[in-house]
Symmetry: C2
Subunit: 469 residues, 2 copies
Amino acid sequence: MTLYENLAIRLREHIELGFYKPGDKLPSVRQLAKEHGVSISTVQEAYRQLEQELLVEARPKSGYFVSAQKQDNLPSISRPPQRPLEVSQWEEVLNMLMIRSRTDAVQLQHAMPDMKAPTLKPLLKDLTKQDPEIGLGYSDIRGTEELRTQLCRLAVASGCQLHPDDLVITSGCQEALSVCLRAVTEPGDIIAIESPSFYGSMQAIKAANLKAMEIPTHPGTGISLEALELALDQWPIKAIFVTPTCNNPIGYTMPEDKKEQLYRLAQSYDITIIEDDIYGDISFQFPRPKTIKSFDTDGRVLLCSSFSKSIAPGMRVGWIAPGRYRDKVTHIKYVSSSMCPVMPQLAVAKFIRLGGYAKHIRQMRQNYEKQRDQLLKAIKTYFPKDTRVSFPDGSFILWVELNQHIDSMKLMKKCREHGVGFAPGPLFSATGKYRNCFRLNYSEQSSEKREWAIKSLGEVINTFQPQES
Amino acid sequence: MTLYENLAIRLREHIELGFYKPGDKLPSVRQLAKEHGVSISTVQEAYRQLEQELLVEARPKSGYFVSAQKQDNLPSISRPPQRPLEVSQWEEVLNMLMIRSRTDAVQLQHAMPDMKAPTLKPLLKDLTKQDPEIGLGYSDIRGTEELRTQLCRLAVASGCQLHPDDLVITSGCQEALSVCLRAVTEPGDIIAIESPSFYGSMQAIKAANLKAMEIPTHPGTGISLEALELALDQWPIKAIFVTPTCNNPIGYTMPEDKKEQLYRLAQSYDITIIEDDIYGDISFQFPRPKTIKSFDTDGRVLLCSSFSKSIAPGMRVGWIAPGRYRDKVTHIKYVSSSMCPVMPQLAVAKFIRLGGYAKHIRQMRQNYEKQRDQLLKAIKTYFPKDTRVSFPDGSFILWVELNQHIDSMKLMKKCREHGVGFAPGPLFSATGKYRNCFRLNYSEQSSEKREWAIKSLGEVINTFQPQES
């Protein structure tokens, strides 16, 4: 047994015996080295192993802490290839998007919010009450001032002081991400991303002829800053693209100090951050978590968001707070699709102004948190024991990691026959990793049918499960 | 005097004396060379000069004809620089788009259709009658099948047999053009375009990091195939981007045989054509002119269009018939803005299906033709005598060429003070040419206020007019 393994065992024991409690600060590397008479690098190696086991977590500038242990079966830290790669998987994404499911199928593959919520009624009523003539002409290419004003009000909750002139309305978050990527890069550039990452943003990276550098990501705290810094030292990375709040597909929220640290890192390497905050408003924390944008003092953060997850994707109302890239972003937004339709913008602006939006997301947060727990319970009941699952602190999606011998693409085909859909893992990697993972949606309220779907899913997985020897 | 000038004078005399009438075929080059004892190239040079004077026009494979002389004061043939250039003018375009006009201003700068037409009422009524819930979720990324089916029906009138699977719905024609450019090019490629050209498409060329090669363009018959062929011989041109039917900003429609000839040229150089047909349905010809796409047998034509000019730009309903580039176009459309809103698509599909659209464009064609003639008459009355003006055979915009000493950018500032707006010429060139030109809109029905606006415009122009010596 090596020195570091020995040390790791002793530390693990201390944690498991309760000597150090969840959230406690652990001794510093220097202190432990002195205490045990070993080298600094031996202690670091021991902590690295415990970090991999999710027992401890590193906090930048603060040292190591015992993990909060929300859950004891989180997916493992991702270990993507440490070099920039072209994004593949378009065929797989297209196949999933084009699936015509059986009408009775339980579709757990899409990241669609609950759109039957009664709190949406004022908005829907208003949409049909508008005079359709107001929506016929061209409008401001940055979007209506009414909506931009309301967005500034909302931004305060995430720690941002914005002016309506700092915003550009887009056709959903997908256009926002796509426009931002094109505004800050040239073809051939490298973008650092979390791994796993949302397939829509990765396909935008592909379409802009960029390379993706997947960075190891912790299922509880997000992108590894150590690995990111290593990558920044080694490669000419142009921008970092992250979804740090209620991440898609995993659901974690990066701690606030880590967000600030990420911003400082971007500053010291003089690179840009594209921050996707699409799920930010449906975080289960109150007040909602701050964005990286809230730390931005020099305009290097481009914040992208939309109402696709908090209201409905069919609204196609998204936005960018482009910081110092405002002119370039305005140009690319204009050539990309000219201006956005006016009526949905006005309806959403009114919904926010009259308080309907705040009421709606308050209700949704409550529902989604309850539904998350119901789904976790069902997974525990029906899935094999070695299943790992993420513990989202917001959103309505979670990430499942199965036994490494199970192929989620094959599993998907089988499950479709049973009328249950999910989003297979390889879609969330630039290079088709995470074959034993998938993403599930829990936005719909619990029902017998949904319970049956999770049970069926478990049964199919069990037929794929390798037999214990 | 050179031999060719001599010959040109004699031919001009014959035409002016009525020896050859408008539309008549002129003697072949070979015949004239023999008759006058000069070389083939001398005759060609003489014809080229008369063509420049718009007295004669060349028809591919048929020879030279006396121009139809719809009008005797057409703008001159454009003579852009014969090399690929980067597109500039974004500041100027942005300035125009961001202008907050006085509320009482007569805005002749935008290419907006008449949206007060009673024939639009069934569509507007239907928009508010829809159940808003149908528009909340994600839909087919290619757009609704209902709309794609109706578009195939419409395409028959332009000579195309399409299948719903051959179409991708976009957020207006701007997204269609932008997606097509990105689907068929790599950064640094050269795109051949008409000169002048629509600023929105040129800015899309700029944003895709492409170079524009402006080709001399005849104000009555469109892009010069001779000049285009020369350019294709000299430069590695990747695609041709044209608006051959009811061109923006000029209004000409390329004759059908010339469209076919252009397609053959693209075939022989194995390059792609992006065809913008946004004004095609409001051609004054009946049946409407064929598209270049109608000659396409090998899928090299990407047809782009939308209902922004035939219905209203605020609908944001456009489409692409991408030919052999379908997969690439679907990918880029998806990353560009995900799917398009469902409700406008369904409303437009129903409007077409029930005959409302056919009725509406029949009415619009009649109105616009009448309004064109009223505007031409007003220009003749109020503008300086040396003003040249295009003769659109469709659309609701025309192109004015003033004395070469007048700067339309300065003129625009002055006219804005008077409460009259227009689109200045430099916006329609990659490199800020056409300073003495501008585009006017005639989509609104004639009124005292509009008559006053044209009169005011004429008065301001007259203060800019150089004094005759």
